[in-house]
Amino acid sequence: MQEILDVRGLKKTFSLSAKQRRIERTDSRVKVALDGLSFKAYAGEVYGLLGPNGAGKTTCLRILSTLIKPDEGDAFVAGASAVKEEAKVREKIGFLTSELKLEDFFTPNYLFDFFSELHGMDEHARAARKAELFGKFGIDRFAEVKVADLSTGMKQKVSIAIAIVHDPDVIVFDEPTNGLDVITAKTVTDFLLEQKSLGKCVIVSTHIFSLVEKICDRVGVIIDGKLVSEGTLDEVRGGRSLEDKFFEIYSESRRAKGEEI
């Protein structure tokens, strides 16, 4: 398979304010979010990032999307450096996370046109892509309704359409089915599998084990900013359920740090 994402030794620390130190119950002025994280992903696969809250999954995805920079290391998306070639990376990646919102005032139709223009698409390509994605997600029905008046599921469909408006090589979704009803969630998972079949590389960060088992080809378990386990689903599970195996890995990591679970 063709390697399309190469994450090399990412390190990232955040300084903690006094308030954050109180919340985190720590005296340390810095929090290590990523501690030398490395992994690779390939075209035509779905790679799942699993980890507890605060493990560094979202930080990793934000670095991949060029929203933030690592302190050390780099990530290469289709050969473009996330540190040095941000604009190129943004052309090759489709990023969706719950922290990215759509402007309530505009309609899906306008927003699609706006973001496709930002991606430098001409009108012909834009119209074809719009017809394809709006048809796939059923957005045609509410294309002229303001985002403010859409349901959560409708908004998520519009967000996905806009995230991949430019037909990116790498699709990075953070908790793609969070808060969605079962029908919309199925639409999203079917879409991700379809993208995989089209040769795209899909990176998914999620807490939902069933979703990982359903769509991921390979999994990386991140704890405390480090990749502690990686492989195909079967390799990581080791003959057990993914959930049981995950808790075993997590418990071991806590015990190694001398913490109670």
Binding site: S65, T66, L67, I68, K69, A87, R90, E91, I93, F95, E99, L100, K101, L102, E103, D104, F105, F106, Y110, F114, F115, E117, L118, H119, G120, I162
Partner: protein, 386 residues
């Protein structure tokens, strides 16, 4: 600056498709200023006697020599000594404005002074504006009489028919405009920018829509330039609404005085346009930088308020100066240069070099602020801090 134009268009569309924004920031300010200032003008004119009204006076023992002078000012009703109490009651009840009592033999005692100074009593009601005005008029009339009795010289005697005030309409109008307009225009520009910039930058950060923009290939400089250009146009329109409101209400505010902006040439208006545009760009850039630093619209508004106070204080300075500075260096000071450049145009004291320096300085400061804003958009600590 890749992608600035779609951002520019989106910002304009966001504003012009929102009816509430249009009403709240374009229509209401101008309309309210027109109504309030017109109302104030009418009120002031009524207070200072805009309408013709002859004050009424009850007078006891009015000397024959003063009858003509009194009748010219007052609607006089002569009464006898027995009517004094009822006359005072009439003043108290606002049935008449004043009651004047001349001492017996008043005229002969002032023509042939004997040492005792006669006392004229004027009863009035301080709680009634008409009575107070009538009292002042009576005092002025009697003071004039007293002055004429010991007249040694006159100053600008109206009887001479001379015109001593050498100012013309142009001078008076330019004085009024140069006192008022710099302050009003700067405040209108600032409030216009303040009503849209924090919402566009801090608001987008707060709602999470800014991050959506930042994961696209559009450059950070493109976002900064697109937003500042669009916000500047909107701010000019907001300021223009208030400006039209004030210009329409100006004649009423000036109590019907003949104040017209026709005295200014096309060149003056071009100069003014250049100053306004460069000032708007600078102010929008300043508010945008402050808004980018803030985490929310509320926080941005709080941070911008001190800057608003600075603008007001700088704007007031031209009320206490005669014309604009002649040297060039004040035109390098941001905001102050805009105030003085507007002042210079309205007071006909503009020097082309100074105006050009002021405008170029504003554009240079704006470019620096765009650079700073771009750097802020690149900073994860500023854009994603919680």
């Amino acid at each position: 600056m890749k992608g600035w134009f779609p951002v520019f268009k989106k910002e304009l569309l966001r504003f012009f498709k929102d009816k509430r924004m249009i009403i709240g920031t374009l229509i209401l300010p101008g309309l309210l200023i027109y109504l309030v200032y017109s109302f104030m003008g009418d009120g002031m004119r009524g207070l200072i006697g805009g309408e013709e009204r002859t004050p009424t006076a009850y007078v006891q023992d009015l000397p024959e020599q003063l009858a003509e002078g009194f009748s010219a000012v007052f609607d006089v009703t002569e009464i006898g000594a027995d009517g004094a109490e009822s006359a005072k009651e009439a003043v108290k009840n606002a049935q008449t404005d004043i009651f004047v009592v001349f001492p017996e033999g008043f005229w002969s005692s002032i023509m042939n002074p004997t040492g005792d100074v006669p006392n004229v009593e004027i009863y009035f009601n301080a709680a009634e504006s008409n009575s107070s005005s009538a009292y002042s008029a009576a005092v002025a009339l009697l003071d004039a009489l007293e002055s004429s009795l010991s007249n040694r010289f006159d100053v600008n005697n109206p009887a001479s028919g001379g015109i001593y005030d050498l100012s013309d309409e142009r001078d008076v109008t330019s004085m009024i405009f140069s006192m008022l307009m710099p302050m009003l225009m700067m405040i209108f520009i600032f409030t216009g920018a303040m009503s849209v910039a924090p919402e566009s930058i801090a608001g987008e950060k707060e709602r999470g829509t800014f991050a959506t923009l930042l994961v696209t290939p559009v450059s950070r400089a493109g976002v900064a330039v697109g937003k500042i250009f669009a916000l500047s146009i909107i701010s000019v329109l907001c300021g223009l609404s208030s400006f039209i409101g004030i210009m329409l209400s100006l004649p009423k505010m000036m109590g019907g005085a003949d104040v017209s902006a026709n005295i200014y040439s096309v060149g003056d208006y071009f100069a003014l346009f250049g100053i306004v545009v460069s000032s708007v760009l600078l102010i929008v850039a300043m508010i945008s930088v402050i808004s980018a630093f803030a985490k929310s619209v509320k926080e941005a508004s709080a941070y911008v308020t001190p800057l608003m106070i600075v603008v007001v204080l700088l704007s007031v300075t031209c009320m206490f100066t005669d014309g604009a500075p002649a040297s060039v260096w004040p035109y390098l000071i941001p905001l102050y240069n805009s105030v003085q450049a507007i002042n210079a145009v309205f007071s006909f004291t503009a020097v082309a070099l100074n105006l050009a320096v002021g405008m170029i300085a504003n554009l240079v400061y704006t470019a620096l602020l765009v650079w700073l804003l771009t750097a802020m958009f690149r900073s994860e600590k500023i854009m994603f801090r919680r």
